[in-house]
């Protein structure tokens, strides 16, 4: 038995898959560009190398995801990546923020990497074989990112007053936007029914928060969630103590991203359709 390929998906499922791939690719592309800004100015030489490498990994993941999308839509990957207006990008609000200071970059990356990891877990067994293979490969690379960011979270949280204060402030500010990474994708039901996605994003989010809760407690960092009673015999899920972010988390972008968009599309826009 072979897994169904693109041709085996009905139109609605294919459209939902395309939207999911676009969101994931934009997440990785935008994060990769923010990472690349640390090249040359990171606080340590080793981190200059590390963030340059992280940037290359993420932009590489974005490229591979845009290629999968190109296989579904027929539009070239470069055009998808660079040929859209600001409003056409679908990265989560978490990725819109400029790099900020070092603690801010670490906090954002850690929140994103861990949310992305549970999302990748829900796709590694995808019935859409090209995606399952790519995700398996990405997971092996992301392992290094997760370990590195976890080490930095601990280092900053236990590194004295100033790093700890800056890290806590960044987490406080980023939590609401962090939830947008795992907001349920459009057409999620169809993706689940077709086995393209093997777990709902709501379940992904619970697992993510359950994993982060003890760490944030241990490090004494803000964790604005509380357990709500789901009825007798039911596990009590963690829900935010702040208002749940709305559906515009991937469609409305801020000034930081508008500036970045101008930078990252400038060469493409100077001569659209140029061949290299």
């Amino acid at each position: 038995m072979s897994a169904p390929d693109a041709a085996g998906l009905d139109d609605a499922t294919r459209a939902a898959l395309a939207e999911l791939l676009l969101s994931m690719a934009d997440d990785e592309l935008v994060l990769g560009y923010w990472d690349s800004e640390w090249t040359g100015i990171a606080p340590l030489l080793e981190e200059d190398v590390a963030f340059s490498s992280l940037a290359q990994d993420e932009i590489g993941h974005a490229q591979a995801l845009y290629e999968l999308l190109a296989g579904l839509t027929g539009e070239p990957a470069d055009t998808i990546a660079y040929g859209r207006e600001v409003g056409g990008y679908r990265q989560a609000a978490l990725l819109d923020h400029a790099r900020g200071d070092w603690a801010f970059s670490i906090a954002r990356r850690f929140l994103y990497d861990t949310a992305d990891a549970v999302r990748l877990d829900a796709l590694a067994g995808s019935s859409y074989a090209p995606l399952a293979g790519l995700v398996t490969k990405m997971r092996r690379e992301e392992r290094y990112h997760l370990a590195h960011m976890h080490a930095w979270m601990v280092r900053l949280a236990r590194g004295g007053d100033e790093p700890r204060r800056r890290l806590a402030a960044a987490c406080e500010l980023l939590w609401p936007d962090a939830l947008t990474v795992l907001a349920p994708p459009t057409g999620e039901r169809r993706l689940l029914d077709a086995g393209v996605l093997t777990g709902s994003f709501a379940a992904c989010r619970q697992r993510w928060l359950e994993e982060l809760a003890p760490l944030f407690e241990d490090l004494g960092l803000p964790f604005p969630f509380r357990r709500v009673d789901a009825g007798p015999g039911q596990p009590s899920p963690l829900e935010p103590t702040f208002p749940e972010p709305g559906p515009e988390g991937r469609t409305e972008h801020n000034d930081d991203f508008r500036w970045l968009w101008g930078e990252l599309t400038s060469v493409y826009r100077s001569e659209p359709g140029a061949t290299w």
Binding site: L54, G60, A64, A122, P130, R140, A147, H150, G199, L212
Partner: protein, 172 residues
Amino acid sequence: MPATAMAELERGVWDALAEVPDPEIPVVSVVDLGIVGTVEASPERIRVALLPTFVGCPALEVIRRSVAERLAGMAPRVEVEPTFVEPWTSDRITPEGRRRLRESGFAPPGPQPADEPAGRPLFPTIAMRPEARCPFCGSRDTMLENPFGPTLCRAIFWCNACRQPFEQFKAV
């Protein structure tokens, strides 16, 4: 075409591929790096699937072109395409590839950590002393300096015995 002739054609393709160097570490061929996935050869068409070492490997297009150039003329149609359907792992590097890596100053990768199940812990730890033998003096008394190196596939180590930095091809 009889099966033996087909097998011979295919062997010819593999032999030709064994002459294509990796652009970043030219002492190692693309075959010894394990990045040639499948080869299908018929008198009309040769298809080669390349398995990128890293998703964002910038050398991939260079490799694709040198493979296509080396095979040009062996069949009217030559197709070389990257694929992630079968993900590359550093375990695919052949013993000959590992020997050549060592000779050119790179520690070959240790065994690839097994793919974790979906419910894995989210914070893996990278051991400070993963398996890496100094390619210069052979000592196992080495330390990981940075899991990120000058290219995506390389990590930076330090040898406590001969006090030299060296690079390891990452275990992925």
